[in-house]
């Protein structure tokens, strides 16, 4: 029996925790969110990804209740929450700026929300201690926010927003201020907390690697619209548009004209005097239709000799090498002048590298390595 995978979005009977229905938000005559429809399910770790100003914070603020949509409906557990004020929503937000109360100690900051619920004193004590333990802040309970470090502050903000055990937790760029190492630790900590508490998380981030690490699904946004929603691997491996392919990770985009080439395969004429490329695709392309082949650098092999069995092979010259420690990215210039990036793992020491600047090399990849996109 196959293990049940957490994928409520593919279950037609599952009811979403949050449902945006044709939500539009305008500020004056500027449209920040345009006709957005989106479902988020219980226990999801949902990431919003997009360039600056695309409306991620606006979306979060509508969920928290600080902005009302100009039109459309937002449901939480089946109920329209647009008229519900922020203090009456089972939603808590961790602010990008943390928004810790500077006049209260760490302990009182965490207890703040619990006190509003008229909880018994010892119940509050227990809950705050639990939160302090979870975020490993026990030693700083009596300090004021200005007496602790940025990373600790961020954990206080997290503890404060978790304390009320909300149905939905909103995190607006929660790890923006942290250094890479602490960031990674905290990402795993967040996932851990999410698993332990079963809370639904919506996270905004600029960092796509972070989104890939923590999220169950990612929504890629642009200019107030959702471009694609999918699991991290789908977003990475099967982007539906050039925009998503280009936005997530590194990609080579080769423009050309498609024509059928056997069952589910297409031939791409991409440059004068160059052998056409072969790519598999589930989509249909009309003969001569303009298309883009998106292919990730790590899916391109680099070799000195022309490989005999590859579906696609092009020759070029090493233009540049970016050394990333564990990986090296070769920027290879083709005779057409285009640059194609190919990535290899550095399994050997750098002194034993096979290729160097100006070396002639062959790039090759299989027909299924890339994604053929219409736009």
């Amino acid at each position: 029996m196959p293990e049940t995978v957490f994928a409520p979005w593919s279950d037609p009977d599952a009811r979403p925790l949050i449902r945006f229905q044709n939500v539009t938000k305008r500020f004056g005559d500027f449209t920040a969110i345009h006709d957005l429809t989106l479902d988020i399910f219980e226990r999801e770790f949902f990431a919003l990804l997009g360039p600056s100003g695309c409306g991620k914070t606006t979306l979060m603020r509508m969920l928290a209740g600080f902005e009302t949509p100009t039109s459309g409906r937002i449901e939480l557990a089946g109920k329209d929450i647009v008229p519900v004020p922020p203090n009456k929503r089972a939603v808590n937000m961790m602010f990008q700026s943390y928004a810790l109360f500077p006049h209260l100690s760490v302990w009182d900051n965490i207890a703040f929300g619990l006190r509003r619920d008229n909880m018994a004193k010892d119940a509050i004590d227990r809950r705050v201690d639990e939160m302090l333990k979870l975020t490993r802040l026990g030693r700083f309970a009596r300090r004021k926010p200005h007496q602790i470090s940025g990373g600790q502050r961020q954990r206080v903000a997290l503890a404060r927003s978790l304390a009320k055990a909300p149905k939905l937790l909103l995190l607006d760029e929660p790890l923006g201020a942290l250094d890479a190492k602490l960031r990674q630790d905290t990402q795993f900590e967040l996932m851990d907390i999410q698993e332990k508490t079963g809370t639904t998380f919506v996270i905004v981030t600029h960092d796509q690697e972070e989104a890939m690490t923590v999220a169950s699904r990612i929504a890629v946004m642009d200019q107030g619209e959702v471009i694609q929603i999918a699991t991290p691997d789908k977003i990475y491996e099967e982007p539906e548009s050039v925009y998503v392919a280009d936005f997530i990770g590194d990609v080579n985009l080769i423009e050309g004209r498609a024509s059928a080439h056997g069952e589910g395969r297409f031939r791409i004429d991409w440059a004068e005097g160059q052998q056409p490329l072969i790519a598999a695709s589930r989509l249909e392309f009309a003969a001569g239709q303009q298309c883009h082949l998106a292919i990730r650098p790590e899916k391109i092999a680099i070799s000195a000799e022309r490989p005999s069995d590859a579906d696609n092979a092009v020759q070029g010259r090493v233009h540049d090498i970016a050394y990333l420690g564990n990986l090296s990215t070769y920027h290879v210039e083709l005779p057409t002048g285009a640059i194609v990036k190919a990535q290899t793992a550095n399994t050997r020491r750098i002194s034993r590298r096979d290729f160097t600047w100006e070396d002639p090399v062959w790039l090759s990849w299989t027909a299924t390595a890339g994604v053929l996109l219409a736009n």
Binding site: A64, G65, F66, P85, P86, N87, V91, N92, M93, F95, S97, A99, L100, F101, P102, H103, F112, G113, R116, D117, H146, R160, S161, K164
Partner: protein, 296 residues
């Protein structure tokens, strides 16, 4: 060396503008009245050498301070000044806080204008403004005419020459001193803190009470001291707007000095007033210092 100079400047300032005048006033308060110019004795006579200085100190005594405790006019005046200053500080706070709050919440482009409006009264002389209030508050004044015209009262109210007029005058005069520090505190307040409070379950009102008020506390304290300290020794407002029943120490001091020409008693009154003021001034300083520390 540079540090020494830097430290020396404020101390020299303090010495020249506060300690020396205070020493002179203290000296006068220990002297006796005399029909002479200046109207007190003894005066320091350096030409007599050591002997003169010794006899000068021998003649100083605390009679005037003893006198202050014997005539109940003085302690009553101190007490009444304290209560008038306290009440008017409270009223100024009640009036000033909403104004400062409104200013801090106003659209960015309006704020300089609003700020200027608060400071605008300082552009005319304080005396003229107090005289203007006499015109407004007198029984034939604008206020009474308006009230009669609207039909709220049948006969003019007596406001001028009562304590009410004094309160109005003090609140009016010192309002900017209350508004500005509170505004400064509210202006710095991060709006997302209020949102965070609401997010955690506060209503607008509780968020105001639990976040806005505590975070503007330093502004409130500063404003209260800036009103209370000058109001306690206030002399012009009670003289012009107050009546014969208005008892304030500033007025008593003025009368001792100019009507009775009793410089020594007037000086004694001033010394005691200063001692009373030292307490709030020290508290004020501590508040400012704490705020500076919190800002770091």
């Amino acid at each position: 060396m540079r540090r020494l100079v830097l430290i020396a400047v404020p101390y020299l300032w303090l010495l020249a503008l506060f300690l020396v005048p205070f020493a002179i006033v203290l000296k006068i308060s220990l002297s006796d009245t005399a029909l002479s110019i200046p109207p007190y004795a003894p005066t320091l006579d350096f030409s007599a050498g050591w002997e003169g200085i010794r006899s000068f100190f021998a003649e100083l005594d605390f009679d005037n301070f003893v006198w202050l405790t014997q005539d109940d006019l003085y302690w009553k005046a101190y007490l009444s000044s304290l209560s008038i200053a306290l009440v008017s500080t409270a009223i100024t706070l009640l009036v000033g806080y909403p104004i400062a709050y409104g200013m801090a919440r106003a659209p960015e482009e309006w704020r300089p204008t609003l700020m200027m409006l608060v400071i605008l009264p300082f552009w005319t002389s304080f005396l003229i403004r107090v005289y203007a209030w006499m015109g407004i508050l007198s029984s034939e004044g604008f206020l009474n005419q308006l009230l009669l015209w609207v039909g709220i009262v049948d006969e003019p109210l007596t406001i001028l020459n009562t304590n009410t007029a004094v309160y109005i005058g003090i609140v009016y005069t010192y309002l900017p001193f209350m508004i500005l520090p509170i505004y400064a505190a509210l202006d710095r307040l991060d709006g997302s803190l209020i949102e965070a409070a609401e997010d955690l379950g506060c209503s607008r009102l509780t968020a105001f009470w639990l976040v806005t008020i505590p975070l503007s506390r330093n502004g409130i304290v500063a404003g209260c001291f800036l009103v209370f300290i000058p109001a306690l020794g206030e002399f012009v407002i009670p003289s012009l707007l107050g009546g014969s029943g208005t008892l304030m120490i500033g007025k008593v001091l003025w009368e001792e000095f100019f009507s009775n020409r009793d410089w020594p008693v007037a000086s004694a009154v001033a010394v005691v007033l200063l001692l009373i003021l030292v307490i709030p001034i020290v508290l004020f300083q501590r508040n400012q210092q704490k705020q500076a520390e919190a800002d770091q």
